[in-house]
Symmetry: C2
Subunit: 111 residues, 2 copies
DNA sequence: CAGTATCCACATCGATACTG
DNA sequence: CAGTATCGATGTGGATACTG
């Protein structure tokens, strides 16, 4: 869109959507809601995602305060991502979204 | 995105987001939650939206069953849009999204 | 392993002009 | 007034190769 959702927007709905908007962010949060994970682990368990998009989305989520990045200084490097305390406040909302979405899919299937 | 959110997706979150995704859909639903409105009325009260995008989003929302379109056969034509019974089930979720978004904006403003 | 750099494809959106 | 058609801009994501 011409006005990127990344811009500062006065609309609270857009503000929230901008955080979870992105092809894979929902899936990423879903996986991480089960516990911290390494980058490569996420990469393996999310079919179809490219490394570029994975890293990109992870960093954006960190930027927004939703995720935390823990790096163990070692060779080769080991980075773990987890949902931050702030990110936890997002999960109930995602649940609601998911619930509605499930019903919507069921209705679509029914015709 | 390459895989359009309009595609049939097995992910409930994407399913819900695809319904409200679109530069202006949040705002449109917001306005219509206060009551039915004519196309021109919406056009006037949503600053910056073009006629094309307004109509486009309205029709998509009708397609998804969220809105209802009432046409009075007259010259010139008079069309009113309102939130459908099904669309009403979406509003509480939008409220949740909005609430979280408001807090998020407040935090951003705080730094 | 984690992350970056390029390059490209495509969907969405905006501007404008037009129709019934 | 409600809606369509056309065209161009651009943002987002994908493929691939590369670095520390």
């Amino acid at each position: 869109m011409a006005v990127s959702k990344k811009e500062i927007s006065a609309c609270p709905i857009d503000a929230m959507l901008s955080v979870i908007d992105g092809r894979w962010k929902g899936t990423i949060l879903w996986r991480l809601s089960e516990g911290p994970m390494r980058t490569s682990e996420l990469h393996r368990t999310i079919p179809g995602i490219t490394q570029r998009m994975l890293i990109r989305h992870l960093h954006e989520l960190v930027q927004d305060g939703i995720l935390e990045r823990h790096q163990e200084r070692s060779t080769p490097p080991c980075v773990r991502y987890s949902i931050s305390k702030y990110g936890l406040t997002l999960l109930p909302v995602l649940e609601e979204i998911c619930t509605w979405g499930r019903k919507h899919l069921a209705l679509q299937a029914a015709g």
